[in-house]
Symmetry: D2
Subunit: 361 residues, 4 copies
């Protein structure tokens, strides 16, 4: 009999619950016990926050967004912000306490589901002696060492569905619609949803964009009788030098207040330069919510089951990963080294260009 702790950390991603579901069921079949630590590491600090999870506790959750054990973006056990009596915030290391409790509770392994921040912390705990298995989670699909992360397909589907909805309005009113999607460092969501949702222009962090090219595409559309255009912008997209967008600040040379994000800036510029009726929209948290797609459910369930197999094999300090359609174990340390960028030579980017999508260059 083994006793497993499981936690979810970082931003929300559809599929977290499916991982939990698979871990609970796979352990149940082996006669192991599973406990969920609420809100990241809180269960290791307060026993009331450590909840036993049996099959009946996870019934049907594979289809539900969010995480039943809560998550957190705040706090790092190795540098935890605490307010002292004077109301000042101090940073203290509570990792020893967590490790001590982990041992006192007789856990055999901690399955940590999270993004690169959570993986970094998990790896540090592993180095301190905690048997840890990582399950990668990032809606942006930008984690190295795994071909895919769950939540990404759902986010892309949500964004594509939004594009579908905007098409009819754009067309009925001869408008340009600009949609800002997630992707601070990489343009995966923008690229996938833009191709699938019939965008005319896709702007991603990997390709600094030229507003002249963007506007040229829009006027080209007009010329061939297509009086509307759809633009997808990743939140981390950057204009070429001299057209640089500065969030919440002033744009050099124009001295106007830039109110929103890059999507709003692009929309304002298009309207100004082409005189076309242009509207913008920020999808924001809609991309993090909702029932996971079938693709994400299956991937998350596979990750969960694979994590339990790693526990059995005692392949600790490793993360489950998808490589060429198969489950693999990779050292956590390797996974957190760098962000995965869109490969501009891939056939997906080529497809975008082939079918006439402008990437702003």
């Amino acid at each position: 009999m083994k006793k497993i702790a499981i936690s979810t950390g970082g931003g929300d991603a559809p599929g977290l619950n499916a991982v939990i579901y698979a871990v609970v069921h796979a352990c149940y079949r082996k006669g192991w016990e599973v406990y969920g630590s609420r809100n990241g590491y809180a269960g290791f600090l307060d026993l009331e926050e450590m909840i036993q999870l049996r099959p009946r506790d996870v019934e049907g959750i594979y289809a539900i967004g969010g995480t039943i054990i809560g998550s957190t973006n705040k706090g790092n056990p190795f540098a935890n912000p605490v307010k002292n009596l004077a109301g000042e915030t101090q940073v203290i290391d509570i990792s020893d306490k967590i490790l001590r409790n982990f041992k006192r509770m007789n856990f055999d392994c901690h399955i940590a589901i999270g993004g690169d921040g959570s993986m970094e912390i998990a790896h540090q705990f592993a180095e301190k002696g905690m048997p840890v298995i990582g399950v990668p989670k990032t809606i942006d699909n930008d984690l190295e060492e795994t071909d895919r992360t769950f939540g990404f397909d759902t986010a892309v589907s949500t964004a594509t569905e939004a594009l579908d909805k905007l098409h009819s309005t754009a067309k009925s009113h001869d408008r340009v619609m600009v949609v800002e999607v997630m992707g601070r460092d990489s343009g995966w969501i923008a690229l996938y949803s833009g191709i699938s949702g019939g965008a005319d222009i896709i702007l991603i962090p990997e390709v600094p964009f030229d507003m002249d090219k963007v506007c040229e595409k829009i006027t080209d559309n007009d010329l061939r009788g297509k009086d509307y255009s759809i633009v997808v912008v990743a939140e981390g997209a950057q204009a070429l030098n001299g057209q640089r967008f500065i969030k919440g600040g002033l744009e050099p040379g124009r001295q106007e207040v830039i109110l929103g994000g890059v999507g709003e800036w692009v929309a304002t510029e298009i309207q100004r330069r082409t005189d076309k009726d242009t509207r913008s929209l920020v999808l924001g948290h809609l991309q993090r919510g909702g029932s996971p797609t079938t693709f994400d459910r299956l991937l998350a369930l596979r990750f969960g089951a694979a994590a339990v197999r790693l526990v059995e094999q005692e392949t600790f300090d490793h993360m489950v990963a998808l490589k060429n359609s198969e489950m693999k174990a990779v050292p956590i340390a390797d996974a957190i080294r760098a962000r995965k960028k869109v490969d501009l030579t891939s056939d997906k980017v080529q497809t975008a260009r082939d079918i006439g999508i402008c990437l702003g260059d």
Copy 2:
């Protein structure tokens, strides 16, 4: 044999195409001809913009958002903005020209689909002698004289689906999520989607809100162990005197730049007063797009078929309307008098209060 012209005016609403579908099919069965005037009245000014519509031209469009004949928010034939050679905008009356062309093209009737602006114009044309039938369209459901307008159920569904998605994220992260939905003058979309989507707080134009009450509800939730809250705000919601929100301007007394709409302001206030992590989202044009729900399709098809029956009966200058589940004809002049507000004594509002939803008062 009759010859019918059809046009769509104003903002987009899912179901416009279903009205067109029903008109085309109902006329086809009578051996009548139907022509669609592109972008409002453009077909009466330029023959190339007047398109014949036969059953094969409208195949499957009842399920598609937007309008296949285009719409416009600009221009009123009775006060049409035109640029002269000097680049100045002049307003001229082109209604006589349109009426003349209408007669030269031998049309027997014009079926005008649109909101109160379009109905006003249609009524003016009717007074000048054009046989006109109106079909009411407003996503906000705020047209008098009809219980429902198509597009509203779809908009409510889109907003409710968004709330469903935000629930899991809000819950996983103990957050407050504020969603701004359409409704400048009336809170129909906010009320319906808020109740159906499990909102804790719904703010509508009909009920000036008190931020103290809003924040009290959120802290009450916390007290009973529900660490997250969902707030739905109609774009036209107004805070009580002294807490007034001014779009894009300065808030008196606090002297800060208010960047976005009322939703963002509410979110900022909640965060400031409760110290809870609060995010806001503007649904915007997503509410106008997409395939109409089954409810809206049926309503729009009924409107279209009823309009053709009114043509046959020559009940001109009337608008089709839904009254107590039945199709009725009402004088257009009656319909455009006032906006339909949410009745605060209705059982829907009572339901919201009964199940613990805070309306900000």
Copy 3:
């Protein structure tokens, strides 16, 4: 303080959980207690099957199909089938026992959610002295005294979505697709989904159909270049005399085994008579499942809140109902008298005929 019991009976309908949600929240705000009786009346027979329901027990259930307290199609407390030691089934009356337990548990009222069978039983209990409030439930929308029942809009949406999916296949392959939907006594689902889903032919129990007319419509379609047809058949549709369909039996005169339901028979006949490639599909239980539509959620929540108001007013032996967009209370006895049929003079039927849909007559 009051103590309320709630039960759900009969077949599944999306929205049951939303009624429960509203009852629990509305009672919670009044300081009342709510208990759910598992699987119909089981909670009155076994205390373990009587579960307290507080707001946290019903979190988010308004969006989920099914019923969290279980339902049953079997058993009537006034004529309950029980197996004796010899294995024979005996029918006994256990209503006195239930009433006795109801009183011993100190309940003030029983809110019974169900179809006409459950309403009949509730009414009998009311006559025996149990304070009962009914909430109408039938996916078929065939209950008298209420304009709408929850679950119906969801069922229609599911059926319409299925028609949308079949359109593309039918068209790509020049096929006839026959879809059998629910509706043993009335054709509401078939009529609504058929109109909304672009059916060419809709067969409902209220209009005995003539296969000659059905096939004529299909060949007419072919003539005008539309090489495919969609047929919606309510499970209770009946062919005109001489073409009578007998489920699972033999068709007089043709002496062939009829394998499935009326949908399959219609498909076989169409293929035989028109020589067109024809396929059939039975939607079955798909129509009973899934998340309720926004329309059904709101209606169910209103029903639940209205039921609690009736408890407060002690308007027992009554059922909540929707009449002309408002909540009303009607005597249960009135509601169970007859099934609501499709009114063949309504504008919905007229719309179907106007836009060229064949009703088989």
Copy 4:
């Protein structure tokens, strides 16, 4: 300038239109012309059935199921069934005529989208000298030489959504629900949807099933308090010897008429052996229809763009394929050799077993 013909053959699959969309746009950007041959090869026999496709002809079709140029399951140009004057069906070879017309129309290449039947025919034409590029299409995902085919993810999603809907009904009524999904030779759809949709039992052609094991799983569920079960059956699943199911025939030893498919037989057996209320449902053509998922749209668009690149490189008699996330060209002859079966050693099958799903063995 090149002139390209494109055709779609075989059963419907969501994504066909997206391939056409990509081919048309990619060719348009090169200044090439594209023509669609209606209903398979009909365009090569009758010029009226050969339709020019420009960007405006394919607007928005990437999001729509079916194929705008029609498909056919009938007819093989190398063995075409024709009725002679006496009404007898003769099989004749019309491939020479097609090849002659192909040359007279000055086509440079034929892009054939289809399943293994269509690929076989395309290969035969290639051997006769027609420059052919294949695009693989099978909803069953059972084509060798490509990791994935478009349409599969959509079919799996439709099946999973159906399972989601049936869960609430099964649970509310303590029922067993049996769902028969596509998959004559391989169990891909059943396996993927079954895992993603929370099935208790998945029966696939690759694993002959034992009804004893199936029923044991159901009674095990009951024992641990889960009173309902969901069973997914691929249409080609086979019981172990002695329990063999014979479609439409008699079951040896029991001498009863078996009415439907394997799903109905499994349901009947479960009901008979476990005495649990059991219902069955055949998803059928629903799996072939509807808007392609984002995943399928992207894959289909990539296939289309890659096919045009192969035309440019003149890599004829090859098929585009997905291999380890990248586009590849494989000889058509290699692709049609065998059906891809579910690999019983893959981690997907292992995941199913790990989380307690019974595969009937």
